[in-house]
Amino acid sequence: MPESPEPPAVGPQAHLKDPLVASVLAWLVPGLGHLYQGRYPKAALLFVSILGTFLYGLFLGSDQQAGWGRVVYFSFRQNDVRLYYLCQIGVGLPALPALVQADLVHRGKRPFCHALMAPPKLHAGDPPQPDPKNPDDPGQQTCGDVVRSLARFFELGSLYTAIAGLLNVLAIYDACCGPVLPEPAKDKDNGDETKPDGPKRKEEPAETPA
């Protein structure tokens, strides 16, 4: 019996394309790697789930006094080692402003955008110096001020954003290698194995006997 032609490279049978490019895109923006591969429903699901979790965590970690998104910041200073950021960076671009803000604060400049993702000061007298025109600048808040102001939402926001980053690691793996396919179901009538619903991988050439 002649073999059936290859299915078109769309939908569930989409090719994984270049796994490295897909992985980088999946890290930059959750779901972008899947979009590149043409796996649109999954791209939408991952984008909404992961980015929604990250943004909700940012929202929990924001208030007028403490500033915006104060639960995501890069700091490996003495007495303020922020290990959460190692998980949060998994979400890619949305967590990268923290690096820019950390660099600004390190050089004694004022953070931008209502101290979005800016590391809090360790001590009140540390640079950057307060702006006389803006006495309520959240960039002047110390670690203690931020934790007191956000109270339990500091931990909750940190947790949400960290879990979003870790979940994106799963999404990156999926973009790189395709889904971890379940055991193929046996056909009840004739015992044949039915094909799982995964994407099409590049097939290895069969080994020929020497």
Binding site: P41, K42, L45, T53, Y56, L170, D197
Partner: protein, 61 residues
């Protein structure tokens, strides 16, 4: 009563969805698998809750 435990619910839903998405390609199987995982996680949390509640009850009485 502290209602912080409700914050776990969205995380359970999202973690179930993303984990299931790494196992299947089509939305139907993903959703079915996600429901199974979410029920499993919530059931496990429920058992731990009952055990801790029982321990507290024993200590109080």
């Amino acid at each position: 009563m502290n209602n912080d435990l409700w914050y776990a619910l969205p995380l359970v839903v999202v973690a179930s969805l993303v984990y299931a998405a790494t196992r299947h390609e089509r939305i139907g199987p993903i959703l079915r698998h996600a429901v199974r995982i979410a029920v499993w996680i919530l059931g496990f949390m429920g058992i731990i809750f009952v055990v801790l509640w029982g321990v507290v009850w024993l200590v109080d009485h």
